[in-house]
Structure formats: C-alpha cells, structure tokens
Symmetry: C2
Subunit: 348 residues, 2 copies
C-alpha cells in the first residue's frame, strides 16, 4: 500500500511537473513571439516587386566573374554558396589580391537588413551592388562603365537585359545590373527550424536550444538581436563594457561608423548583424577576429553585457543559434549556366 501510494504520489508530482514544463514552454514561446518574427516569403520592398526575368538575370550576374578587371571575381567569389554566402575568411580578398577592410557578411536574407554594410555606408542593396561595380577592391576598374562594357561583349546577355528591362533603350547599364542582382538577393530567404518554432511547433527546437533561447532573452542579447533577422536593423557600439579589441585580440582597431559620420558618438559603432545562419558563417565580427561561435557568444556577453557565461549557457545559446540555420535556396546552391564567351582580351 505504501508502495502504491508512492507511485500515485509520484505520478501526481510528474503530472504537476509536466504541467509546469508545458506552462514554461508556452511562456517562452510567447516571449519569443514578442521579440522575433518569422521570415516573410517575399522580401521585396513595397512597390519594387521584381519580375522573374530580373531575378533570373540577377542570378546570372551574381555568379559571373567576367565583369571585373581580370575577369576572375564575381559576387559568388566572396559569397560562396558552399560556405552559406560567406568565404570563411576574416577579411575577404578582392581583385588582384587587394584586401577588403572588413569581413564579408552572408548574402542570405540580406533583404532583411535595413542597414547595409558594417558601417551603414550603403543606402540599399542596389547601392551596395552598384558601388561594388565601381570599387577598386571588388571590381578593380576605376571607370564604372568598364564593368558594363565587359557585359556588352557577352552576346548572350543582350536579350536577357531586354527581357528584364523592357522599354529601356540601353538596358545594359550599371543601374540595371545593380537592380537585377539586388532583386535576386532578395529571394535568398532561408526559413529555419526557429521559424517553425515561432509558428508554434515547440518541438522544432531541442531542449538545449529552448534553454539557450531563454538565456538569450534573459541575458539581454535580444536588446539588439531581435526582429525577423535576429539582428540586422540597428547600430550599436561594439565594446560597451570593455574594449572589443582587448576581448577579441583584434590587431587593428576599427573606428566603425565614426569614420563615416565624423560623429564621436559613432566611435566603434557597427551594424548589429543578423544571426540567421550564424552557425555556418565563421569567422565572426566586423573583422572576423573570432573563429568559433562559442567564443563569439562569450565575447559578446562580456563586452556588450558585462556577463561571464558558463560553458553550459554558451552551449545552449549555440544550440539556439543553430536553430537559425535554414536550407540553402536551390537557386543559390545551384549555379546557373552563364552565356558562354571569353571577354578577356587574350593575354596569350
């Protein structure tokens, strides 16, 4: 009888516990839904719905290396599909071995970023694409028309530009190249397990990931990493509690947005990056100074929040961040077949 009572009592305790767990789970989901939003299917800006022809053309241009000074660097050179739209480098290497000043962020979900570039010195994806075409590092040709002229020498592009920009008398121009590439980039959306969770599927996240989410919220990470991108929409000083370079071992100090605005308040201020697919896009921070995600989480907690996280807390947050990894869009993973042509003056 005593044994029986113990079992009944045990079951009651178990029931009470599972009810408590269910309540906790529901509460966590509710908190998460207040802080984050799931990915939209279409990230086109209102009134800028791109045509299929523009998106398809943008995909070709994104993968085509023949616009640059030596014809060997494309958008996909630094934004590799195999590395989730990044290049695995601390700082990218541009044309003719010219160093990029900062780490290449992924192009995946880049349509979500209301701030473009680490220092916000681009107006839009279009502005980023067209400035890249005129950049000595990215393109290597001082005259922005040189990229356009290289495209004109590939006969297969003419009908594609005409179809994408009907009625345009001279459709092969830098503005249209930038529009098409941006239209393509806005399609690169990667719904992840976390989106299923936000839609109500509690099991889409492991217990560790849910614990990590809770720690992420409670620790204050969501002050910056929130919204649909889990970041990407605000500026913040990197190194609020201590200098970032002391924590990361950065060997050159980057003044960040202050160099753009000349405002002392912007010293060491950078865009808060989106954390979508962050588990696939090492190394981390504007200078790629930190190689692993656990280390990046620890550094962030220390220098931004003044918190020293335990190993278990870090591991759980990493589990949560892994739930932000979506599947590569097939139109990104799969390279298009480019119109064949050798555009390089034969260096024979």
């Amino acid at each position: 009888m005593r044994c029986m009572r113990a079992i009944v009592a045990g079951n009651v305790v178990a029931l009470a516990m599972s009810a408590a767990v269910a309540a906790d789970n529901a509460s966590l989901l509710k908190q998460a839904q207040q802080v984050f939003q799931p990915l939209p299917k279409d990230m086109s800006a209102p009134g800028t719905q791109a045509s299929k022809a523009q998106i398809a053309l943008g995909r070709l241009l994104f993968f085509d290396p023949r616009m640059t000074v030596d014809g060997n660097v494309s958008c996909a050179t630094c934004h590799l599909p195999a590395l989730y739209g990044t290049d695995g480098l601390s700082k990218s290497i541009g044309v003719q071995q010219r160093p990029h000043p900062r780490n290449a962020p992924t192009v995946l979900n880049s349509g979500l970023n209301t701030i473009v570039h680490w220092r916000g010195d681009r107006e839009s994806l279009e502005d980023q694409a067209s400035k890249a075409l005129g950049s000595p590092i990215t393109n290597g040709q001082p005259d922005i028309g040189a990229a356009r002229d290289r495209l004109k020498r590939i006969p297969g592009y003419a009908p594609l530009f005409e179809a994408a920009f009907p009625g345009d008398a001279a459709p092969i121009n830098v503005g249209n190249v930038a529009s098409a590439i941006s239209a393509y980039e806005r399609t690169l959306v990667t719904p992840a397990p976390f989106d299923a969770y936000l839609a109500g599927s509690l099991d889409a996240l492991s217990t560790s990931a849910r614990t990590g989410l809770e720690t992420f919220i409670k620790s204050g990470c969501t002050a910056c990493h929130n919204g649909v991108g889990v970041g990407g929409g605000t500026y913040r000083k990197f190194g609020i509690v201590e200098n970032y370079w002391a924590a990361t071992g950065s060997q050159s100090i980057d003044k960040g947005r202050a160099d753009v605005t000349n405002n002392p308040a912007d010293l060491y201020v950078f865009r808060v990056p989106s954390l979508r697919n962050v588990a696939m896009t090492a190394p981390y921070f504007h200078d790629g100074s930190v190689a692993t995600l656990p280390e990046a989480v620890s550094v962030m907690a220390r220098v931004q929040l003044g918190r020293k996280l335990g190993d278990r807390e870090v591991a759980d947050i990493v589990s949560f961040l892994e739930s932000l990894t979506g599947e590569l869009p097939s139109e990104f993973a799969t390279a298009p077949v480019l119109p064949p042509a050798a555009v390089i003056p034969a260096q024979h």
Copy 2:
C-alpha cells in the same frame, strides 16, 4: 495528262531523293560510329571503383577554398560550374594573383583523358590533384603538408575522411585528398545530343550539325578528334602547316611537350583536347588565344590541315560541336554545403 505525268515523275524523283538522303544519313551515322563512341556511364578505371563516401568527400574538397595559402582558391575557382568547368580566361589566375602558364581545360569528362594537362606532364587525375596541392600557383604553400593541416583544422572533415577511407590510421592525407577529388571528377560525365545520335537517333542532330559532322570527318579533323572524348587521347604538334602563333596571334611561343621531354620531336606538341562541351568553354587553345569557336575552327583547319574553310562549312562544324554540349551534372552545378569553420589565422 502531261500534267499528271509530270506530278508522277516529280513524286518518283522526290521518293528517289528521300531514299538517297536516308542512305546518306545512314552512311554518315555508320562512319561516325566507326570514329566516335558514346559516353560510358562510369569512368572509373577498372579496379578503382570509388565508394559513394569517397565521391561525396571529393565533391566537398573540390569546392573548398580553405586548403590554399590564403584560403580563397578551390578547384571550383578556375573550374566554375557556371562556366562549364572553366573560367573564361585565356590563362587562369592562381593564388595571390600568380599566373597559370596555360588555359584551364574543363573538368567535365576529364576522366576520359588518357593524357592529363596540355603537355602530358601529369600521370593521372590523382597526380594532377596532388601536384596542384603542392603547386606555388594553385595552392601557394611550398610544403604540401600545409594543405592537409588546413583540412585538419576543420572539425567536420574528420568523420568524412574516416568513412571514405576506412581502416586508414591517418586518413586526412594528401593521397586521400587527391583520390577523393579524382573519384568525384570521374563522375562528371555529360551525355550530349551527339551521344543520342551515335545511339541511332538521327534527329538528335540538326541538318546543319549533320552536315558539319560530315565536313568534320571529310576534312580530316577526326584524325585527332576521335573516340569517346572527341579528342583527349593523343599528342599532336600545334601548327603542322603553318606556325600556330602566326595564326592565333599568340604573343608568347610555348614549346609545349618539348619542355617536358627535352625531345626536339616534341616541339610545339600538345595534347589534343576533348571537344565535349567546347561550345561552352571559350577561349580556345593551350594559351586561350582565340576567343570564339568559329575562329578556333578556322584556325585549326588552316594550321593543322592546310584548308581554308568557307563560312558555311565553319558554321556547320560549329553546329556539330554544339551537339557535344551536355547537361551539367547536378552534383557539379549544385554546390555542396561545406563543414563550417574559419581556418585562416585571423588577420584582424
């Protein structure tokens, strides 16, 4: 009555003509079948049947830029899926802007080549892959072990090498890297309309392509461009009737195989390239000195055969060559997802 007779006579003529055309078509196919063979499904060397794990690993390694000195050049950098396994350049650009001495041939159907590299100075695909890992141009690290050590720093590779090379005590080694990449490359087979034609589907080739095939055979092109690869298996002097550099405008003269063998008989001797997918892989020749396929066909006829082809003959041969364009294998067009990790010592 006269009219009636004329119609009957006309029909008889038409019947006789179509019978003649059919006989010609059958005869051309028969000739073609004597000269060429269709693609095999499996190009593994006998006794070297690679495992699925080896092929899958080789695919990752082919697309991974993190083995090279700056971590930014992979096999796919010069053998781009979007450009049918080539790079569109006269001569490829290696690590740190170092120039490759010759044009990058496509990796598609490279398992067919019994001669590897333009001068035949590689024993096999495996030898090519492992020499590339030790090359200052391709890899940039004088110690071949450096590439291996970079792989070891990507945790996700360890279990993949163990699965691909079971029983190997230290499976992450240069030999295994070369084996895996070669095993993957041997799967890159591109059956084309011409294979369907060889199998008996006359309609797989347009009338122009069939005329071009006939011209190709009658002109003597098949003396070198024959077999399953439509080339790829023999050496030949480039410039039999006249100097190649006079015809192509090449600005530096390449002695070819003579530099490898020190045999004067090998002066200006190169591998005869396979013509599969040639319409997609401009520019042409060992030095990429000729930008378009019609020009390449004309130059070949002139300098190898002493023939001046008419525009119609060239156009028909180009139609035939276009029938050698196959579909990109999906495991080539689609980039794999690489094990994430930053292997570069942070240059921050």
